[in-house]
Symmetry: D2
């Protein structure tokens, strides 16, 4: 079987250099280009890249994708900063190149994506749901973006299923004890030296609890998701938003 020809854009960044190594280590892929800030995009076509892993910056991602789509090169995109305008622009480009696929993923960690998915699926079947996220103490925001997003997905699933409000008899509380309220879901943020990035979704019903916990110990956790994206984007024309769409969950 011929190998998938993969190029990495942003190859000298922290995640990018890890992606270079991951592509090189994958049996079914060949790394055909690894471009940094000043390298020419023509290397992509010259090298016959079939899929580009785009890990640059919001300032350069649109030019890069314009080039890829025009040349029928599929793209897996980790760069952030997506607005409705940018997505619309990208869709326009893609409509002119019907066989080309682009995957944009806010999170390439399969564990994080599955945690959100499972939390969303389970949410309607339990009376109570709360989220605890735990991070290193240098983090500036609380709760984490992932925890806030998880809580919103849970809240949405519960609304759609017509769940009753969560039971909570708290009458006397210290300020903050019951956590932040994200769309009706309590979210608690722990900041502890020695931790990296962790999240727990606790679901409770009559006589039982279900806990889904994700521990992220290294940003290398993005690599399996990036490789999985690269393998599938070539056969998924158009724009896909979110890695969960590439997971077979049945």
């Amino acid at each position: 079987m011929s190998k998938l020809r993969v190029a990495v854009l942003g190859a000298r960044g922290r995640i990018g250099s890890e992606a270079v190594r991951a592509v090189e280590a994958a049996d079914d892929m060949e790394l055909v280009a690894a471009l940094g800030r000043d390298d020419k995009l023509e290397s992509l076509t010259d090298s016959g890249a079939q899929v580009v892993v785009e890990l640059t910056t919001p300032a350069s991602v649109m030019d890069n994708l314009d080039f890829c789509v025009r040349h029928g090169i599929h793209a897996v995109v980790g760069t952030t900063g997506w607005t409705d305008e940018r997505l619309a622009q990208l869709n326009t480009w893609l409509s002119g190149s019907p066989g080309t696929g682009v995957l944009i993923a806010p999170n390439f960690s399969i564990g994080a994506v599955l945690t959100m998915k499972f939390a969303q699926q389970a949410a309607r079947y339990f009376e109570s749901v709360e989220v605890i996220e735990l991070h290193h103490p240098n983090k500036a925001d609380a709760p984490s973006g992932t925890a806030a997003r998880t809580a919103q997905l849970i809240a949405e699933a519960r609304r759609e299923a017509g769940c009753a409000p969560q039971p909570d008899a708290t009458a006397t509380a210290l300020d903050g004890a019951r956590g932040a309220d994200v769309d009706g879901i309590p979210v608690h943020s722990v900041r502890l030296r020695g931790l990296l990035a962790h999240q727990e979704v606790l679901l409770g019903g009559e006589g039982e609890t279900l806990t889904i916990r994700h521990d992220s110990l290294h940003h290398s956790s993005f690599m399996p998701g990036i490789l999985l994206g690269a393998r599938r984007v070539a056969t998924t024309p158009g724009l896909t938003f979110g890695l969960e769409n590439f997971l077979d969950l049945n």
Copy 2:
């Protein structure tokens, strides 16, 4: 809205009496009969039961279901001891009563069912999977039936996805340290005073782990699943095996 007319068979057993209370407490249900060992099945038709919750014994379940199916009463069955012969017999009865539904569930705990389902879905996306089950020290078998079943489902999912064998460099080990081997999946059994029934599925990939944990603190945890089964069995003709088929997981 008219209430669902529900009867309980085995109403004086430990689970059965709890089911009686659960049906009585449900807003959308009416308990129309609660039968013990010596009560006549005719009470079911007399009372106009639409759904029967069958929580008796392998010795009586077939007669009970024969009666129910013949009279078009749907059934939610927690009684165990199902063989291929019994299932075939039941299917024959059901083919003669096309509008009637029967749900047989080895486990009515929604948390347990979701744990198995999620473990199965996630299994192919991680290099390593192990199962830890923890129970009170009066339990006679190790591992638990649920843990063994979970491990088998995981192994099956990994085979289907063509996963590589799990990495394990263990060269020197004390007997038993690495757990029991269930179809290639290590399963560890903890027996501890103070515990009831708990299970953890640990999945590990590059730089991250995902843990799905179910804690069962009381057999009242079967009630939400029994009620959910009762609500859905009336609109699901034929035989359904496993509560997971009645959960909307998308």
Copy 3:
């Protein structure tokens, strides 16, 4: 060896009746009296009780202890409502009966007592400490009294050791995300159907974390501590406050 002669006061209450059974089941004890609200205290002397387990109410505990101390009967006290005045009164009585011992314990769960003790001991050796307590949703206060007390003990230990303030770079936070501030220690309260009473102390330092978790699944968890108290109070004259003083931690 002759058995310890034990009486229970408040023997018909929820905890009291459990204590009656626990004393009866203990090999080294004999239950000589089990008194309810209207029973005469003279039964204690008549029956030759050596140790009384006092599980009544703040309204009757002082009269009961007055009687016990005057008759040289040791006491293990679970009744709450202790003020400085009451303690002073009890000490006066005890000074008139030098061989008699009284143990008052706010918590007879050995697991809860050890959690507090270990948290206190470990607190000075880690940069970060947070407390998560998790209870059933019918609980009226947040955080729990035990969690608040644990946080205070931790804060005290850190002050005495001259620890620096905990690192926390949080700049943008939703209200409540970072928990309640109890004496500088963040405390998070989770309320979830299916839970009973649980507490986790998380300690984090460079490259490592230590977690001490207590799960209380039944108030029978008080019995081992009550029996341990009964065994040791007879040889510990005077007033002892807190079960931790009867644990050998070296």
Copy 4:
């Protein structure tokens, strides 16, 4: 206050180079020498080192300590391979230099040391104790040395306290399900990609469980223990074995 003058031996190794950085970063210490394999020990006396951190190899540690003790330089030793003969030799040297202190520690992680200590203290107060250790899948031995040592300390504490054997009604078990038997304590070894080094001690009694968990995410976790050792060894003449002796646990 004058700073403690500290030297590092084995300064170019993985742990040694980290120790160099940790000493430099400590407000109360001055790094006066950082010696690799070929450097002369005389640098220690020339630089006026008060404490040496010894992180070399079994082949060189004895010569290094001979030199240190002869010159009254205290030592904190992480090098392994200690036999009774070596310890006797070291004690002879120390008896000739009465003011000098040497700390040898098999484990400098404060979390690991506290986990063992707490497990040992709590072991006698619970009916059941089991140990789960979880490591990356490249580990060659199972269980880990730390888990085996922890189990032995627990077993010893239970023997001294005259504890009854653990309850376990297991009658039918798959091979290995109940873990390895280390001195009567079941020990379970999990090997999972994404993990580093983790250990859980589970203690269970009537109606409650206590869990002590240590997560080691980086070998930087040794640094606080090494610094603590350096601070205290100067005022602790003679040989001290084990970091726990330098922790104030009361």
